[in-house]
C-alpha cells in the first residue's frame, strides 16, 4: 500500500542487485553477464537456462547478458498472471534456434534437453527418429516438415493453462 510496486518487483530488484558487485551497483542500467545470472538457484539446474537468457537479452553482442528491465521481462513472462499466448510465444522462442520454426534439429536438441544431457540418458537414434516423426505427424498441420508458432500454440492450447511454465522467486 505504500508504493505502486508489487512485492514481486521489489524482490526481483533485490535479487538482481545481490548479483552485482559493489561498483556496478552505483551505475545505472548495468548489464549482468550470463554466468552471473545462471547462479540464481531457480535457473541453475534448468536445462533451458542458456536459451532463456538468450531470448530475453537485448544486448547487441547476443551474449545473453541481461539488464534489470530484461530481468523483469523474464519474470513477468514466467509469472502466474501472464496469458497463455504470451507463455506459448516465449516457450516457442526458447525452443527454436533462430530460424523461426522448429525443424528436426531443434526438436532433437529439445528432446535431449528434456531427457538429460549426459550420454546414457539420451534416447537411442531409432527412438529419436520415431519420436520426431510422431511429433511432426501430430502437430505439423501444413506438412512442411517444421512446427511454426501457430502449430505450436495449437498444441499448447490443449493443455488448459500451461501451468508448468512458471518461475517464482
Amino acid at each position: 500500500e505504500l508504493t505502486f510496486l508489487t512485492k514481486q518487483e521489489i524482490l526481483a530488484h533485490k535479487r538482481f542487485t545481490e548479483l552485482l558487485s559493489k561498483e556496478e551497483r552505483e551505475l545505472p542500467n548495468t548489464r549482468l553477464p550470463m554466468e552471473k545470472i545462471l547462479t540464481l538457484p531457480e535457473l541453475k539446474s534448468n536445462p533451458f537456462r542458456k536459451r532463456i537468457c538468450h531470448v530475453f537479452s537485448t544486448s547487441e553482442e547476443n551474449d545473453g547478458s541481461l539488464t534489470f528491465e530484461d530481468f523483469l521481462d523474464l519474470l513477468s513472462a514466467f509469472s502466474d498472471s501472464a496469458t497463455l499466448e504470451i507463455k506459448s510465444h516465449y516457450a516457442f522462442r526458447i525452443f527454436f534456434d533462430d530460424d523461426g520454426t522448429l525443424d528436426c534439429g531443434d526438436l532433437e536438441k529439445l528432446v535431449n534437453c528434456l531427457t538429460g544431457e549426459t550420454d546414457e540418458t539420451r534416447l537411442t537414434e531409432a527412438e529419436m527418429g520415431q519420436l520426431i516423426n510422431n511429433i511432426l505427424e501430430e502437430s505439423d498441420i501444413d506438412k512442411d516438415g517444421t512446427v511454426n508458432l501457430s502449430e505450436f500454440q495449437h498444441v499448447i492450447s490443449r493443455s488448459p493453462d500451461f501451468v508448468s511454465f512458471k518461475i517464482v522467486l
Partner: protein, 536 residues
C-alpha cells in the same frame, strides 16, 4: 473383549419404552448397519462420478476452441509478423479459453489430467515434449528426476508403438509360440493363486479347531489365517512379476495384468476365508446334520457365531496394521541406513525401497473391504479402522519421505483412478452380499445378541412394520405395490435413455470436430501454396 460393546454378542434384545420415548435396539442395530453401507456407497459415487462427467464435457469444449483457433491461425501465418511485436498477434478475443480455464480451475487436477492425457488419439507425443517440463523445478535432484520421468514416459510410448507394429507383422509360427507361452504362464499364475487360496482354507480350518488353547501358541493359532493371507499377498505378486517378464506383453498391459492378479488374489482370499467360516458355522450348509439340527447352526462349536466372525475380521484389521508398522521399523529404516552408510556395489544395486503406488492402494482397498464385511458383526470396527488408517497414513508419510525413492516407472493416473474406484466398488459389493446373506439366511445365535429369538435377522423389520400406524402401513404398501413401482421403473428407463442419447450425441460431435480440424489444416495448406504462387 468379547463381552464389550465391540462385538455383536454383548448387545441385548431390549426394547426401551418410556412415556414419550421408545428405542427398539434390534431394529436400530439393523438400520445402523444398512445405513452405513448405503452411506459408503453414496460417498464413493459422489467422489468419482462428477470428475469423469466433467472431463468429457471439457474435452468437447476444448475441441470447439481448437477449431476457432484454426480459423484465426490462417491470418497470422499469412502476415508473418516479426517476433518482437507482441501487440499484433494476441488480438483475437478468447471467451472460450477463459471458460476452459475457469472450468479447469474448478474441477481440480484429476479431471485436468484426464483431459490432458485422456485418449492417445490427439497429440500425445507433442504434448509431452512441448508442455511437460516444469520450470519451477529447483535443484539438481528434482531436475534429474523429472528428466527420468519424461524419458521413461517417452520410451514406454515408443516401445508400445513398436510392439504393435511388430505384432502386426509376425509370422504364423511366431504367433503360435507366443500364444502357447502366454497360455502356459497364465495357467501357472493361476496355479500359484489357487495354491495360496488352498493354504488359507487349511489354515482357517486348523485355527478354528485349535482356537481354545491358552498362551502364545493359542494366540498364534488364532492369528494363523491372517498370517497366511498376508504371506500370500506378499509372495504371489513377486512370483507373478517373474512370470510377467516371460510373457512379453507391452509395458502398460503388463502393469494392468499384474494389478488384476493382485486384486483377484486379495478379494478371493477374503471370500475363501468367509466361505470356510460359513462351512463351519452351518455344518457345510447341511442344516439337518447332528450338530446343526437343534438350532440350525453349529451351536457346539460356536455358541455365538456372530461374535466369532466379528473377531476374525477384527484380527485381520489389527494384524494388517501391526505388520505394516513392523515392516516399516524392521525392514525399511534399516534398509535405508544400510544403503546410505555402506557404499558397496551390492548396496547400490539393492537401493532404497521403492514406493509403489498400486500395491499400496490395493492394500487400502483390501483393508476397507475387511472393515465393511465385519461392520455388521463388530459395530465398533469402523471406528477402529478410522484410527488405524490415520496411524497408517502418518507412518506411510514418514517412510515415504525418509526411506523411499520415487518409483522409476511413472503411473498413468487417469485409467488407474477408474480402476481403483471399480475395485473399491467390487469390495463393497462383496461386503453387501455377505451382509444380505447373514441377514436373510443364517439363523442368529440363540444365546447372545439382539436378534436372539428371531428365525432370521430381517424378521424384525416386518414385525415392527405392523406396529406402525394404519395410514403409514397403507402408504408403504402402496409404494411397494406394482401400481407405483412399475411407473417408477419406466421413468428411470426414460431418464437412462435420455443420458445414453446425450452421450452418443457428444461422441458424434467430438468425431465431427476432429474431422473438421483436419479439413481446416488442408485448407490452410492450400491457401499457403496459393499465396506462394501469387507472390512469385
Amino acid at each position: 473383549m468379547e463381552f464389550s460393546y465391540m462385538f455383536y454378542g454383548f448387545y441385548n434384545n431390549t426394547l426401551v419404552e418410556d412415556q414419550n420415548f421408545s428405542y427398539n435396539l434390534p431394529l436400530a442395530y439393523l438400520f445402523t448397519a444398512v445405513f452405513y453401507f448405503a452411506f459408503c456407497f453414496i460417498c464413493i459415487i459422489a467422489r468419482s462420478v462428477p470428475a469423469l462427467l466433467l472431463s468429457s464435457l471439457l474435452l468437447l469444449l476444448l475441441l470447439i476452441d481448437i477449431l476457432q483457433m484454426c480459423g484465426c491461425v490462417q491470418l497470422n501465418e499469412m502476415s508473418r509478423m516479426p517476433f518482437k511485436s507482441l501487440s499484433g498477434e494476441f488480438s483475437h478475443p478468447d471467451p472460450r479459453l477463459f471458460l476452459d480455464r475457469l472450468l479447469s480451475h474448478r474441477m481440480g487436477s484429476a479431471a485436468r489430467v484426464a483431459v490432458a492425457t485422456g485418449g492417445s488419439a490427439v497429440g500425445n507425443y507433442s504434448m509431452i515434449v512441448f508442455a511437460s517440463w516444469d520450470y519451477g523445478c529447483l535443484g539438481d535432484k528434482a531436475t534429474k528426476l523429472k528428466q527420468k520421468n519424461i524419458r521413461y514416459q517417452l520410451q514406454v510410448d515408443l516401445e508400445e508403438e513398436q510392439l504393435k507394429k511388430k505384432a502386426a507383422s509376425q509370422t504364423l509360427n511366431q504367433k503360435i509360440i507366443l500364444y502357447s507361452l502366454r497360455i502356459s504362464m497364465f495357467l501357472l499364475a493361476n496355479g500359484f493363486i489357487i495354491a495360496a487360496l488352498y493354504g488359507i482354507f487349511e489354515a482357517t480350518n486348523f485355527s478354528q479347531e485349535r482356537s481354545r488353547q491358552a498362551g502364545i501358541l493359542g494366540l498364534l493359532f488364532e492369528y494363523l489365517p491372517s498370517i497366511v493371507i498376508t504371506a500370500g499377498n506378499f509372495v504371489v505378486p513377486l512370483l507373478c512379476d517373474q512370470i510377467a517378464s516371460i510373457e512379453r506383453y507391452g509395458p502398460s498391459t503388463t502393469v494392468i495384468i499384474a494389478l488384476l492378479r493382485s486384486v483377484i488374489l486379495r478379494l478371493v482370499s477374503l471370500v475363501v476365508l468367509l466361505l470356510t467360516l460359513w462351512r463351519q458355522v452351518t455344518c457345510n450348509g447341511d442344516i439337518s446334520s447332528d450338530d446343526c439340527k437343534l438350532c440350525q447352526y453349529n451351536h457346539k462349536l460356536y455358541p455365538c457365531w456372530e461374535t466369532r466372525v466379528g473377531q476374525e475380521m477384527y484380527r485381520l484389521t489389527l494384524f494388517d496394521l501391526l505388520i505394516s508398522i513392523a515392516v516399516l521399523v524392521l525392514v525399511e529404516f534399516p534398509r535405508r541406513i544400510l544403503v546410505d552408510s555402506w557404499s558397496s556395489k551390492l548396496a547400490q544395486w539393492v537401493g532404497r525401497q521403492e514406493f509403489v503406488v498400486s500395491s499400496n492402494v490395493l492394500g487400502l482397498v483390501y483393508s476397507q473391504t475387511v472393515v465393511w464385511t465385519g461392520a455388521l458383526f463388530c459395530p465398533l470396527l469402523p471406528l477402529i479402522s478410522s484410527l488405524k488408517f490415520i496411524i497408517f497414513f502418518y507412518c506411510k508419510k514418514i517412510t515415504l519421505f525418509y526411506n523411499c525413492r520415487p518409483a522409476s516407472k511413472t503411473f498413468r493416473s487417469t485409467t488407474s483412478t477408474f480402476f481403483f474406484v471399480a475395485v473399491l466398488l467390487i469390495g463393497w459389493a462383496l461386503a453387501t452380499a455377505v451382509m444380505v446373506y447373514s441377514l436373510a439366511e443364517i439363523h442368529p445365535s440363540l444365546s447372545c445378541g439382539p436378534f436372539r429369538f428371531f428365525p432370521y435377522m430381517w424378521v424384525i423389520v416386518p414385525n415392527s412394520f405392523y406396529a406402525l400406524s394404519k395410514t403409514t402401513q397403507e402408504f408403504l404398501f402402496f409404494i411397494g405395490s406394482q401400481a407405483f413401482s412399475i411407473p417408477l421403473f419406466l421413468f428411470f428407463c426414460v431418464v437412462l435413455c435420455y443420458f445414453i442419447a446425450l452421450c452418443s450425441v457428444h461422441g458424434k460431435s467430438v468425431a465431427l470436430l476432429r474431422d473438421q480440424i483436419t479439413l481446416e489444416g488442408r485448407d490452410k495448406q492450400f491457401l499457403v501454396k496459393q499465396i506462394q504462387a501469387l507472390s512469385r
